[in-house]
């Protein structure tokens, strides 16, 4: 069976712990990334680096993509963290990447939620740390109860990989601060179970408290059935928790951070995170989702 935790020396030596080769802004090649960031945050001085963790579950397969987007494109320090890790205190933001954790043979994310790291993710979120679950990461957050609701199979009953348009429903989250409300982002999806559902009262609560962050829409920004790639209720593509610091979304922002890949809209999400963290003086409480809108 799968070993959980322990002293790991994996493909990425960064997985062994803090001492691994993690990129720091002082190293070469980063200036361009931070310059862009400095521009977006409006600051003249160089902001402090934002420390990202990418959790690696057995079967994660978008871990390297998140690492690349955050580390190479944004130029932020990033480390792989194995699912056996029980201490995330050195990080500002934890990414639960896409993939098929444990093969997803049972129900997506159903096994991964029992990984030791997930207890720490819950504590980390409780301390106000930022957590972003993308695709399988979103599914894991749902299974772990960190976000409400559940996933059904896509209404097509098929895997879907395509570019979608998602509308930013609120900018009052740490993940969308640099977006405009109503802005349509072009971000791809790749999943077989992204058909989000929740009981009516939960949906109402999500809507009322401004916790629906992204919705599938057409080019004009309308949430039409044709623009909904998986049958998700109310065209929901991403939601945050009550405290606003845990985001789950099915689209893959890490896949559209470079122009050669067809869109750079994904960067807005990661850059919003960076802007949010760097603008906090010390440990300012995260935005309360309830006050959004």
């Amino acid at each position: 069976m799968l070993a959980a935790g322990g002293a790991w020396k994996v493909r990425f030596s960064a997985l062994t712990g803090r001492a691994g080769p993690c990129y720091h802004p002082v190293m070469g090649g980063l200036e361009d990334g931070t310059r862009a960031l400095a521009r977006t945050t409006g600051g003249g001085r160089r902001p402090r680096p934002v420390r990202f963790a990418v959790v690696v579950f057995p079967g994660s397969n978008c871990d390297a993509d998140c690492y690349h987007a955050v580390g190479n494109v944004l130029g932020q320090p990033v480390e792989y963290v194995w699912h056996g890790t029980t201490d995330l205190s050195d990080f500002d933001c934890v990414i639960l990447p896409g993939g098929f954790s444990y093969g997803d043979y049972l129900r997506t994310g159903a096994i991964a939620r029992f990984s030791p790291v997930m207890e720490e993710v819950a504590r980390f979120a409780g301390r106000g740390g930022l957590v972003i679950g993308i695709c399988n990461g979103f599914q894991i957050l749902l299974e772990a109860g960190l976000l409400p609701g559940a996933m059904l199979r896509n209404d097509s009953l098929q895997f879907r990989c395509l570019y979608t348009n998602v509308r930013v429903e609120t900018t009052r989250t740490p993940f969308t601060g640099l977006c405009r409300r109503g802005q349509v982002l072009r971000i791809p999806i790749a999943h077989a179970e992204g058909n989000y559902t929740a009981p009516p009262d939960v949906l109402e609560e999500l809507e009322q408290s401004g916790r629906v962050v992204f919705r599938y829409v057409d080019e004009r920004g309308e949430p039409t059935p044709e623009a909904n790639p998986n049958g998700s209720v109310r065209s929901i593509a991403g939601i945050v928790n009550e405290a606003g610091n845990v985001l789950g979304l099915m689209p893959h922002p890490e896949r559209c951070c470079e122009e050669m890949l067809g869109s750079t809209d994904g960067r807005l999400i990661f850059e919003s995170i960076v802007a949010h963290v760097t603008s906090r003086s010390v440990a300012r409480p995260v935005v309360k989702g309830g006050s959004a809108r």
């Binding site: 990129y23 494109v73 098929f100 997803d104 122009e259 750079t264």
Partner: protein, 791 residues
């Protein structure tokens, strides 16, 4: 021999050997083989594993090239693209398993080819699939299509390997014997190519991965090396079951192992399972192996040595490490949750010795099993059908609107073509594949070739390049994008036209190579090398054997002229059902190289007002065309000829123009001819450039027999599939420069018209033959395949 008292079931036939082969085995061993030994020989000497029919012919294919490091013989071909980027690639078939159990057959096909790649220390970075099915009005065919596509998706998506391209064609000959050819491309991670060699006597041999079960026994010998008959359904137990999650863990574990200093050799267990991996590793190294199968982790109790040695349970690897380091290796696998156990040692006597505890159950020279199967020069005879099918009476074929033609006008014929499953948009297939994971796919499915940039996530160099290329905020300036992207890239394409090869096997072989190379050239890439999958019917039929020989001769000729070596591949024989053979179907998997992905070219038009040109001449060639098939219901006539010198010049021209940044788009004229190529470039266009205004009567070559005076008939100009043609669009200010490049290469280049938005308008000598809204045609083209599959 006592067994001869039961002549009704000769012992050799049970394992798929001939009597003559059985006698050879007896001579090699100096005795009669045991039950287990006979099973092992049956597998390793099967057509599927031994290439006994094909190997004398495969030698014709050129194997060396400028960038090629490792050719045939290892698990996959290897090319060095500089700056430490070493690419490994191979194609393989999984036809018969997929025809019986489509989901698992296709899924395990993907799993097998992935293992061929990471066994060499390369991380799989892309897959492409070349599929052939029967007509979609058949319920079972639709079931097969759905199952195969879902199986490929299930495996590729789970393991996180993007499926970036491929092709799918439908023809009656594949009705009961679909073709599933999967190509995988990998990027070397550890700086060295890992070989499948059991070097160093005394070194431990470890079996890692899934437990061994009773699945897939006789997969290679009985399922893959025989044609289908009415009992094909009964072969279902010979199909293996896929576990992509274990494969994903195996990939990570093996790639980590490849970085260690104690890994000696690595080989996957594919067809013929443990028998094949152990004998091949020993034979390649000139060593022997002593393995104790009582140490093999089993899925179920009571398995016989025969079953253990012949099982084709998936997701297993055989590993040889340095003596004393077995604990390290097993801990490494354990870390990834992969079961691994020492099952034996390397020896120096060249013998593969299989024990069950103390009892020896097989003792055979490894080399005899793995590399000394008999080679056959089977009899060949030019098929009689060729004289019949080559006759094409175009006089009797009316133009659209004429009596006997199914379409009342050109628009009708055009629509018929766009809605044909062979030409229609294949989005239904590729949207089920994750084609973006690993964030390297810079040309998504649908263009002539997929293009991937090459990067290493943790390489500081990647960091610098990305910062330069992508260091702009969202919505930032796009103008400098091309200049800033300095990533190297690869272009990938799979091609092969069974109809052409059926009508003229030699030309079919030439054309498959030429088109695959043309496709990567249209992406702006230089062809580096190819892997091939040769799908044929029963080679014991001299006419099939002749087809095989001619296809190889054609491929060899094209490879020589175009300077593209063959780095390996796969032969799949016995693709026939109840005596009905498939068309000979060579599939070429081409690797192209771009030293700057910023210079990539795609098929879609970019800007209204750009000049649209045709490079290459159009001849009156309707033989073997999709148009002929659709309007006359026939696969007939001479397939379009390929003049390799013209082809070479065309490719050199396109490549130079691409590198000079002169091409806004480039699209190969293939099935459906010029009209379909123009339509596809319109459909794939960026917004505001979805249309074209073109005069098609350009670059016409006179028809032989009429003193070269008569121009081709209009349906041949519009829909004929003359080779060596590319539709190009170019900024109007750079057309003269482009024409200069074409002249230098001796390539006829003529102006067709302009890119315009929203309308496709084709004229022939000034007369409008077709004027339709792009939107309408595109909807038809996009809807056709899903609708046919729903039927």
């Amino acid at each position: 021999m006592s067994r001869e008292s039961r002549p009704s079931v000769p012992v050799w036939e049970e394992v798929g050997l001939t009597e003559e082969e059985y006698r050879m085995v007896c001579r090699i061993l100096g005795r009669e083989p045991s039950h287990t030994e006979l099973g092992m020989f049956g597998l390793m000497w099967s057509e599927h594993c031994s290439y006994k029919t094909s190997k004398v012919h495969l030698r014709l294919l050129p194997q060396t090239g400028r960038r090629v490091l490792v050719g045939p013989g290892e698990n996959a071909g290897v090319a060095d693209l500089g700056d430490g980027f070493v690419v490994v690639w191979k194609i393989e078939s999984h036809n018969h398993p997929s025809a019986i159990e489509p989901y698992q057959g296709a899924a395990t096909g993907v799993g097998g080819i992935l293992r061929d790649i990471f066994t060499m220390g390369a991380r799989p970075i892309a897959c492409l699939d070349s599929l052939r099915f029967g007509p979609l009005d058949d319920d079972r065919v639709r079931y097969l299509v759905g199952g195969v596509v879902a199986g490929i998706a299930g495996y590729g998506n789970t393991t996180g390997i993007p499926t970036v391209g491929g092709e799918i064609y439908f023809d009656d000959c594949y009705r009961d014997n679909c073709l599933v050819n999967v190509m995988c491309v990998g990027l070397l991670e550890g700086g060295r190519v890992i070989r499948g060699r059991a070097e160093g006597p005394g070194n431990p041999v470890i079996l890692a991965g899934n437990r061994t079960g009773r699945d897939g026994i006789h997969g290679a010998s009985l399922l893959a090396s025989r044609e289908f008959d009415e009992k094909a359904e009964e072969m279902r137990p010979a199909v293996q079951v896929a576990d992509p999650f274990v494969e994903k863990l195996l990939i990570e574990a093996c790639l980590e192992l490849a970085q260690t200093d104690y890994l000696v050799g690595l080989n996957d267990l594919g067809a013929a399972g443990l028998t094949s991996a152990s004998s091949e590793m020993a034979s390649r190294a000139g060593t022997g192996l002593d393995i104790d199968i009582s140490r093999v982790p089993r899925r179920e109790p009571g398995m016989t040595p025969y079953e253990v040695m012949l099982s084709e349970s998936q997701e297993r690897m055989l590993v040889v490490v340095r003596k004393g380091r077995e604990k390290d290796a097993i801990e490494l696998f354990d870390k990834w949750g992969v079961e691994a156990r020492v099952i034996g040692r390397v020896t120096d006597d060249g013998i593969l010795r299989v024990r069950e505890g103390e009892r020896v159950v097989a003792e055979v020279p490894a080399r005899a099993l793995a590399h000394e199967a008999p080679a056959y020069e089977r009899p060949m005879r030019r098929p009689a059908y060729l004289d019949e099918v080559v006759r094409l009476d175009l006089e009797g074929l009316p133009l659209p609107g004429g009596s006997g033609h199914p379409d009342k006008d050109w628009a009708g014929a055009f629509r018929r073509l766009l809605a044909s499953p062979n030409i229609a948009c294949k989005e239904w297939v590729w949207r089920q594949y994750d084609h973006m994971v690993r964030t390297n796919t810079v040309v998504l499915p649908g263009s002539d070739a997929a293009v991937l940039r090459l990067k290493r996530e943790e390489d500081p160099e990647t960091r610098k390049m990305t910062a330069a290329a992508g260091g702009r905020a969202a919505g930032g300036a796009a103008d400098s994008a091309a200049a800033a992207e300095r990533f190297k890239g690869i272009a990938l394409s799979t091609d092969g036209n069974g109809r052409y090869a059926y009508l003229d096997p030699f030309t079919g072989g030439v054309q498959a190579v030429a088109e695959a190379a043309r496709n990567v050239v249209c992406a702006g890439a230089e062809p580096v090398g190819l892997t091939n999958c040769l799908n044929f019917a029963n080679p014991e039929d001299p006419e099939i054997m002749w087809q095989f020989r001619k296809v190889i001769e054609g491929m060899a000729e094209a490879c020589r002229v175009l300077g593209v070596p063959v780095t390996g591949g796969n032969v799949s024989f016995y693709n026939e059902t109840m005596g009905v053979p498939i068309f000979p179907t060579p599939v070429v998997g081409m690797l192209g190289y771009l030293d700057d992905v910023g210079r990539r070219v795609t098929a879609g038009f970019k800007k209204a007002g750009d000049i649209v040109l045709l490079a290459g001449e159009t001849r009156e060639e309707l033989g073997g065309s999709e148009y002929l098939y659709l309007v006359a219901g026939e696969v007939r006539g001479a397939p379009p000829a390929v003049d390799l010198q013209r082809e070479k010049a065309l490719q050199a021209f396109v490549l130079e123009a691409a590198r000079a940044g002169l091409l806004r788009s480039a699209h190969d004229c293939a099935e459906g001819g010029l009209a379909v190529a123009l339509a596809e470039s319109s459909f794939l266009a960026d917004p505001e450039a979805g249309g074209v205004e073109a005069e098609v009567m350009v670059n016409l070559a006179g028809t032989a027999g009429d003193g070269g005076a008569r121009p081709p008939r209009l349906d041949a100009v519009l829909f004929g599939e003359t080779q060596s043609r590319v539709v190009i669009s170019c900024d109007s200010s750079r057309v003269d420069e482009l024409a200069g490049v074409a002249r230098r290469h001796g390539v006829p280049l003529a102006r067709l018209g302009r890119v315009r938005d929203g309308l496709i308008r084709l004229t022939a000598a000034g007369d409008v033959v077709l004027e339709e809204r792009t939107e309408d045609l595109k909807a038809l083209w996009r809807r056709a395949l899903p609708e046919a599959l729903r039927a």
